[in-house]
Amino acid sequence: MIKSTYAATQPGAVAISDRVHWIGALDPSLRTFDIILKTANGTTYNSYLVRGSEGMAVIDTVKEVFSETFFKRLESVADYSEIKYIVLNHLEPDHTGALPELMRRAPQARLFISQRAQSMLKALLKHDQFEFTPVMTGDTVSLGDRTLRFLNTPYLHWPDTQCTYLEEEKVLFSGDVFGCHYCDARLFNDRVGDFRFSFEYYYAHIMRPFREYVLKALKLIEPLPLSMIAPSHGPVLRDRPDQYLLHYRRLATSALDSEIGQEKSLLIFYISSYGNTARMAEAVYEAVGEIEGVRASLYDLEGGEVAPFVDLIEEADGLLFGTPTINGDAVKPVWDLLSSLAVVQTRGKLAGAFGSYGWSGEAVRMVEERLRGLKMTVPVEGLRIKLIPTDEELDACRAFGTSIGRALIGDVENRIVEMVQR
């Protein structure tokens, strides 16, 4: 056992409490994680070993290339024959890379995963010849004088994610929740360098799309007495762990309460080269404004930047995109915004598209397809107008706005259609 401040630079396990050891790996040279995330000083793959009077449990493993480091640390404090349980809080390969070899070395160990992890586990291990126990919130397993309790916390950030709570030590093994990509051999939050940016950045890219699930998970976690949060990446949060719960709650709740209140918020984004799509947007906006219970906002994409629009979209109930067609495609500012929505939840929002075109007008259909691809509902067929809208065509824009507005407040007219190929 190592006691020096830079403990994790040594090959052995690092004690984080009487009965818990860190047996993870440092990856200081990593600069890009999972394609989407940058890290200025690498990351850690945290794995933990819990000792009870009747055996040991391994909580998560490491990325495959770090297996050797992981097994060395494990062997410094345990025999494989002592491992009674293996718990996987999350099946992503950076936490399950060493699993097949661990199962080979400790064949007696029972594997605990969440309900949603079952099909993923088979896809990861690529064979069916293993046993596992799916667990739910409230299920416990005993290590004699130590007990592990499971919390089902799905979608943080995969469907399979769960947390594991060591009751007697009040340690929460949280998986990726409360984690960050920050590599520091001092391991503990009260010893490492300034990791605040990494913590926020990790939340913004990994957890933010699932904020409703973050709030659900917090409901399960907040009542637990906590001495420490032990996440699967970055510093172990032993100093004021409750502050991190509070911070997560703040991050998952809107910074500024919307003034819109109970009304449904509809955002109309448009861009226009000759003012035709702009005139359509204004007519749509005008009509939506007449619908009680809907608050519409109009934005010219030319005058804004992507990131604040993404923030607005996160909170909105409905979205409309007005785009001209140029060379058979929607224009780049529209695609830029529509390709930046992976960090927010768009599922279930109402959406639609409209636009003026010169001769072919593909943009509206392409944008509609993208909106459906983002799992939004497109209740009203998009509106395309050739070049300059006439008065009648502006009426059609108003009717389009009215239909969207009414769909937003749930005022849907029952219509009956025959299914035909279109």
Binding site: Q115, R116, Q118, S119, P159, R347, G348, R372, K375, M376, T377, V378, P379, V380, E381, A407, V412, E413, N414, R415, I416, V417, E418, M419, R422
Partner: protein, 94 residues
Amino acid sequence: MAKAKVTFLDTGVTVSVPVGTRVIEISEKVGAGLIYGCREGDCGTCLMKVEEGWNNLSEPSVVEEKVLRENMAGKHFRLACQAQVLGDISVRPA
């Protein structure tokens, strides 16, 4: 060809379809709120609640049953990419 009526309660659309059509194909055509991910009965994205006509859908396969169980779905829930219409039904996104 035998026809059945499928009502999407979220968007208020009733569609008359040939018996045997999968619910997701209909939802997609009329812009109802049922959405899909894998379309192979694995991801659970297209989970729907069947409000009326529970017995008017094809029986869930073993695979669908498993996905429903993993998603802890109640007994009137089905996967829109798997369930085929046999008679009149009313559904909404789960």
